[in-house]
Subunit: 421 residues, 2 copies
């Protein structure tokens, strides 16, 4: 390689992939990682566990790409042929990696199973390659460069593949392609704005910027934006990111809630509550416990969440929350008044600092003559007057429920922010 | 085509796929559909929105495959080049489909937007092809056969792609490959047995059977098994499936819970409760509302589910469920006695026919000196004595919670079954 401009090609090996029995999530993960560090992928191929066909794919790839990355086929079974096929393609031997072999022997000794030659192959790599240690499994990866083409071999199980890409391959590729540059990424997370609207708001930045670059990714019910800067020194890269982020925040900061790949709206909210020692409860009708289960997803949630109510039927809104039945009948279950009462009563009965109430129509059918997707969320935030918001969510039943739960977290997020300012 | 043996190749077109911005779920869906009807896929390729590279991929595919299916690139933007590239590759013109053109004109008239030539292209197809109507969008698909190679062009948006595969392409391919045969599939769903154990139990059937065939698919926390039979008449195909299913049920029937692709354990349980007019409630600690939200996922759940409790902290188990605090302190929160009390008290307080209680350690930390993954589930089923089961789930925090909720549904499923026998 050496040159900055690299044409990458990803080859995923596995009959299970070809038959659609498993999804090629590894390919997507790798393509994103390559894009993030400025490497363009031109082709992705999936081929079965078949030596002849894999050979033909390698031969073709060699003519059109200078970085060839294979996924899978490094294991101990007869189906695992990638290593052998690449070695043959390059006219090289397979040689053992002492460290991996020792690990392998240790593993088999400990589990009191015989170490067969089949299993030993996992510690072998293509001669002259750089070994990529597998910290989460037994099969080593490798990186070779022959005649200007680099061959990277990675294991298939996602639990081994992803850490190897992030911790071994990514730094290696950065070193190979960015000799004297520092590469720095920052992920911003947004809720309440669609990907296309976010892209429109930032269109000129996305189009004109080459350093730092911006890329949007749509996730379920949220959008993330990745900023990537390169510079000779880390401090300069940080400054580039700070300047670009300031422009982004000025335009779409109202929808921003946090940083990082491994983050979520509920994590940000629950952690803020923990930091501020503020307790939370909920009364859920259409969401049926989803909001509370999203709280419980966050480690440490028990510090701020003691429990809450699922009040699906009107009678239980009356009984569990002590809301007068005549009020419910008069106002309707799907109403501003009921959402407010659910928030207030749950807060009061649990003795929490915040109570939130969800009522609405998940669908598919109408309820109280209101369309599916109609949702009221009431927020009783400390001693402030109850705030009720009305939403009209589109789409399917479970999207309505997830949308409602996310909207509830965002209302709490905004209330916490308002309090700090 | 004509011959039964077909070598298929899938080409997904789109720079967003190449960069990993979206996942190639279409490719997986199509590969599974092909496998189900006995067509083998040998290669899958992803290529960007680039005419030259798509051309080179088509040229190669023509040499090694006799069924080439492209996904994407049929839309109105400049990036959409698939139709034009295939037409050029085959030396054919693009011609308008009158029906699609009329639909397109109607759509633009109705939305009061001008119909530009760019947009019209969506109603064009490769001359001499069979048009595949798009019932969920504007861009038509097509199927041509030239020099013994079939070219199928499908739209990229999953909401258009999947129905076209299921309702247009699948019957077309069955007609092309199974001239005088009837093809019938049946999906069996299992809970509580891993894919590899299921495959081991059925190994001889999977290996030896060619008609009907068996294929296992692992899903989150469950396994499905697809039986596919072919025969000249439907009745014979049904008999083949019945005979094979009987063998399967004799071996692994204890784990079987239902039929069909679009099904789930919670659907089967909630629908059985509705049919038997049996009401349900829950008290959830570690699952934090997840079990109840899975009930609420099922349309019609309100007929049997009025509400329930999320009792995360010990104090709320005491207060909301009226379990004596001294009992909780004596037995511990993660205990058989507490799970039983949660089940009984929730049932009694809601006046439901069934109460279920979940308590355990989601992790990552230990609780009451018990390992993460330790879960007690109590089931108070009508007037039967409370049944408490202890589970030791492996893996991560949210897997423990989902595993626990699923195990709860399976306990109810088994109790309902026992009652019927």
């Amino acid at each position: 390689m050496g040159a900055f401009f690299v044409k990458a090609e990803i080859i995923a090996v596995g009959t299970e992939l070809l038959l659609g029995q498993i999804s090629n999530t590894n390919g997507q993960f790798l393509a994103r990682t390559l894009a993030d560090i400025g490497i363009d992928t031109y082709y992705q191929t999936v081929v079965g566990d078949n030596q002849k066909r894999l050979e033909s794919v390698l031969k073709l790839a060699q003519t059109r790409s200078d970085l060839i990355i294979t996924i899978g086929g490094l294991g101990p079974t007869e189906d695992d042929l990638t290593k052998q096929t690449v070695a043959k393609h390059l006219g090289k031997q397979l040689v053992p990696d002492k460290k991996a072999l020792a690990r392998l022997q240790g593993f088999y000794t400990q589990s009191q199973r015989p170490l067969t030659p089949n299993n030993q192959i996992q510690a072998y790599y293509v001669a002259d390659a750089t070994v990529l240690d597998n910290d989460h499994g037994l099969a080593v990866g490798s990186a070779s460069t022959v005649d200007g083409v680099s061959y990277i071999l990675l294991p298939g199980p996602p639990s081994e593949f992803k850490p190897m890409v992030t911790h071994k391959l990514r730094p290696l590729l950065i070193a190979m392609t960015h000799h004297d540059e520092f590469l720095l990424s920052r992920v911003l997370r947004f809720y309440g704005i669609g990907e296309s609207l976010l892209a429109t708001e930032l269109d000129d930045l996305i189009v004109s910027q080459t350093n730092p670059t911006l890329a949007t990714y749509a996730k379920d019910h949220e959008v993330t934006l990745r900023l990537t800067a390169k510079a000779p020194q880390k401090a300069e890269a940080v400054k580039l990111l700070n300047d670009l982020e300031a422009k982004v925040q000025a335009r779409v900061g109202d929808y921003f809630y946090g940083y990082g790949d491994d983050n979520s709206l509920q994590k940000v909210v629950v952690n803020a509550l923990i930091a501020q020692k503020t307790t939370l409860t909920a009364a859920e009708s259409l969401t049926g416990g989803l909001f509370q289960s999203m709280i419980a997803e966050v480690p440490g949630a028990s510090e701020v969440f003691a429990g809450g109510f699922v009040t699906y039927a009107m009678a239980q809104k009356a009984k569990m929350l002590a809301i007068p039945l005549k009020d419910l009948e008069k106002n309707g279950v799907v109403s501003q008044q009921t959402a407010a009462a659910m928030a207030l009563q749950s807060k009061q009965r649990l003795g929490a600092d915040i109570g939130i109430g969800f009522t609405g129509v998940a669908g598919p059918d109408k309820l109280e003559d209101q369309q599916a997707g109609t949702v009221y969320i009431g927020l009783a935030f400390k001693d402030q007057p109850v705030d009720v918001k009305l939403f009209h969510f589109p789409r399917q039943r479970n999207d309505v429920r997830t949308n409602a739960a996310m909207a509830g977290f965002f209302m709490i997020f905004q209330a916490l922010q308002a309090e700090r300012h």
